[in-house]
């Protein structure tokens, strides 16, 4: 961008009456970052970047903090922090104070923490001697503080898979508060997590779209230990992800002359471009930005450079396949021929990632891991990851779930589906649990559910309130920055039309 255009944009942000002060601050910092040109952009990347077939996720021109940071909060609770002058907490109040203080200092691509820990395991040791009511009063203050200050739909908390008193109490609080932040995911181990806890979680999710449900067995051996952040990123604990870049299949498909040429030339060439580009971003972040050299999180062992990986994103598989097969009219999610082509595309991408060496990615075996990227607010005609486009979901819920399982298997760092259920599900959470169990047995990795008429809706993974979208659209200032993304995504991707799963 030339200087004048940059200045004009900066002025626009600075004088906006739709942004909060903090939102302005973040965007202004981005302007400053983007005035730099310090990365050596590989030619192969530039060619596909022009058509947005390869995409840097708007992470900025000079990465100076990892995209997602997965702090080892357990360690922090045991050792406190010298830098923050915090002793290891002994009471629930001290524990909450310690966590909230640390959150303030955890960076990420959004500037706010995208992972705030497995809250039940973190807080459960401090509940002795307190009644449920006392605990819940404190939990609610804690959760509301996070909602109002972090105010970012990408902020994510984890629960489970163990059944703890804190797990149940946090679910109760969440159901009563119906906050959009943090997002919750419960790690569900079919053999360990009891049915009645899961039914409580499902009732909570039907009420307020939280928690989402992760297949613990499918994820637990991905790294030494994992956490779930943001839009369902499965990442190594005490580390995280340096960056996320992605290949947008439909845009790439449009650059090819034929399906064969796409598979044999265009796709492999673009994958190489993306790999090289990711190398360069990570090089700058690790070697030049000074982040790992200066952060107290590193010094105190709350994160370790060796526990970081990077996500190689894939988006719009459905649209890409449908585009390539446009003459025959065969569709992803419906025709075996389309699904087989999708499988071939994914196999090529997975093979590339498994063979391309990635420096500084020890946590993932020296390679990039695939991530089913959920979308950007500006995407049009790009369906999340490997999902089936909204409005074209198979009639059969089971066929849909089996289809998901087939494609989830390619993605170690996160892949998910979202299912709205009808109100009647509230009377029979066991039925929803049966469906989830079946899905996880078939190999699905992650499911988010909500009730079709609830105010909170899931966009690509994060949550916003329909009522906030309306406010934002009518020109009012809203607290959460994700509402801005949600508003445009909700319309571009016709999310109101998602197939509702009912009894008919």
């Amino acid at each position: 961008m030339d200087r004048e255009a940059l200045a004009r944009e900066t002025y626009g942000i600075l004088t906006s009456d739709k942004l909060t002060y903090r939102q302005k601050l973040i965007q202004l910092a981005k302007q400053a970052e983007n005035s730099l040109e310090v990365l050596h952009i590989p030619e192969k990347f530039a060619k596909y970047f022009e058509t947005r077939a390869l995409c840097d996720m708007g992470e900025g021109n000079a990465p100076y903090r990892p995209r997602y940071v997965m702090v080892d909060y357990e360690r922090f609770m045991k050792q406190g922090s010298e830098f923050l002058k915090i002793e290891p907490p002994k009471t629930l109040d001290e524990a909450i104070f310690a966590l909230l203080t640390l959150y303030y200092h955890v960076p990420s691509i959004t500037t706010m923490p995208v992972y705030i820990g497995n809250l039940d395991t973190l807080l459960d040791p401090f509940l002795d001697g307190l009644s449920d009511e006392e605990v819940k009063a404190k939990f609610k203050l804690f959760l509301n503080y996070v909602d109002r200050t972090i105010a970012d739909g990408y902020c994510h908390a984890n629960l489970g898979p163990k059944d703890l008193r804190a797990t149940r109490l946090l679910l109760e609080c969440e159901k009563e508060l119906k906050n959009a932040v943090p997002n919750f995911t419960i790690k569900y181990d079919i053999d360990e997590t009891p049915d009645d806890l899961m039914e409580q979680a499902i009732l909570c999710a039907l009420e307020c779209a939280n928690p989402a449900i992760a297949n613990h067995k499918a994820h637990k051996d991905t790294y030494w230990d994992y956490g779930i952040s943001s839009c369902y990123n499965i990442l190594p604990l005490r580390g995280g992800s340096y960056i996320l870049s992605r290949v947008v299949i439909p845009r790439l498909a449009k650059m090819a002359d034929s399906t064969e040429q796409f598979l044999e030339e265009v796709l492999p060439d673009a994958l190489l471009g993306l790999g090289q580009y990711m190398d360069e971003r990570i090089r700058f972040l690790v070697e030049e930005s000074g982040f790992f050299q200066s952060s107290f999180l590193v010094k105190e062992g709350l994160i370790e450079r060796e526990n970081f990986t990077a996500m190689f994103g894939v988006a719009g598989l459905c649209d890409g396949v449908n585009y390539l097969l446009r003459d025959s009219g065969k569709r992803y999610g419906h025709d075996p021929e389309a699904d087989d082509l999708a499988d071939r595309i994914m196999t090529i991408i997975a093979d590339f990632a498994a063979s391309y060496p990635a420096k500084y990615c020890e946590a993932s075996g020296g390679h990039y891991y695939l991530h089913a990227q959920a979308g950007l607010s500006t995407d049009e005609g790009v369906t999340s990851g490997v999902r089936i486009v909204v409005g074209d979901e198979p009639e059969s819920l089971y066929a849909h779930l089996r289809h998901s399982a087939r494609f989830h298997r390619f993605f170690p760092t996160g892949c998910s589906d979202i299912f709205p259920f009808e109100v009647t599900a509230r009377n029979n959470p066991a039925a929803v649990l049966d469906i989830i169990k079946g899905a996880f047995r078939e190999g699905d990795k992650y499911m988010a559910i909500y009730q079709s008429d609830s105010d909170l809706v899931r966009i690509t993974g994060y949550l916003v309130k329909r009522s906030d979208i309306e406010k934002y659209d009518s020109g009012q200032v809203v607290l959460q920055d994700t509402v801005q993304n949600g508003s445009s995504n909700y319309k571009l991707n016709r999310l109101a039309d998602r197939k509702v799963r009912s009894n008919a």
Binding site: N427, N428, A430, A431, I435, K437, R441
Partner: protein, 286 residues
């Protein structure tokens, strides 16, 4: 076995099979709706399941998709062409549907089997499923081999207690409808002495999965039904079996009740209170 080589495999007319239902029994289940009923409730939500098609042909010309045709006095439905608009069932003057398929136990079983591992069981409904007992006996026996539980959703007008099907049926969801004989007759056109017998026996056999009453003041003597059930069933049934008090809703209903209003929330609350006083512990108003 109920079949002989000469008679060929058992068949039954199936209105439709839904791969999952959230409202017909515990957990997620596949539900099979059989065609044909032996009574005719005025408040029936699916009147098109009541009778067998007589091939009158009235629906054929009304189909906007050309999915219906008459052949040798029978209506043939083309599943591929059908767009599911349900015009045919709305215009059928005989409480039937042209979209009914005669199926063998094997065929129904296969449709159920492919829904594993997503379901914990099946529910059979109707029409009236108890008109198909030999078929059910064979179907249930096979489903139980897959560890699926098998429930019958029925009106209780067919004696069940001595039937071998009960050995493979995990429970009955009994729709008690009305208590006073005259009231029952006015509502359904039939008598209810067998329903009461079924209620008593099935309760003793611990085969009652759920008790239902569709509540509609003026047509259904719901307080009497609740009292009647309380006097007939065991204490264990009262404690454990789900008593579902269903608010009448006019959706799908034909005839003089097509526009009848739903009972008030206050009325439903009163019924719930009565049931609680009489010792029912597992009550749900829907």
């Amino acid at each position: 076995m109920h079949k002989t080589a000469a008679a060929g495999p058992l068949r039954a007319p199936v209105n439709r099979i839904l791969e999952h239902t959230l409202v017909d029994g515990p957990g997620n289940r596949t539900i099979v709706f059989f065609q044909e009923c032996n009574i005719g409730c005025r408040y029936c939500h699916n009147p098109e399941t009541q009778r067998m098609c007589i091939g009158c042909g009235s629906c054929v010309d009304q189909c906007p998709a050309g999915a219906l045709r008459l052949e040798a006095g029978r209506v043939i439905w083309d599943r591929e062409l059908c767009v599911g608009c349900d015009t045919c069932i709305h215009v059928c003057p005989h409480y039937s549907s042209p979209k009914v398929t005669e199926m063998t136990v094997d065929e129904v079983y296969e449709e159920i089997r492919r829904n594993i591992p997503f379901i914990r069981g099946i529910t059979v409904s109707g029409g009236e499923c108890s008109l198909r007992l030999p078929f059910l006996q064979e179907l249930f026996a096979r489903c139980r081999n897959l560890s699926l539980t098998c429930l019958m959703d029925c009106n209780g007008t067919v004696p069940l207690w001595d039937e071998p099907v009960m050995e493979v049926c995990d429970g009955v969801m009994l729709d008690v409808k009305a208590w006073d004989e005259g009231c029952f007759r006015r509502l359904t056109g039939a008598g209810n002495s067998v329903v009461k017998e079924n209620l008593r026996h099935l309760s003793e056999m611990e085969k009652l999965e759920e008790l239902r009453i569709v509540c509609l003041d003026g047509w259904v003597d719901a307080p009497e039904v609740i009292r009647g059930i309380a006097q007939t069933v065991t204490e264990k049934t009262k404690r454990e079996t789900l008593l579902k008090l269903i608010r009448f809703r006019s959706m799908g209903v034909r005839g003089e009740l097509a526009k009848a209003p739903s009972p008030s929330g206050a009325y439903m609350a009163e019924l719930e209170k009565l049931a609680r006083q009489l010792g029912f512990e597992n009550i749900r108003v829907v």
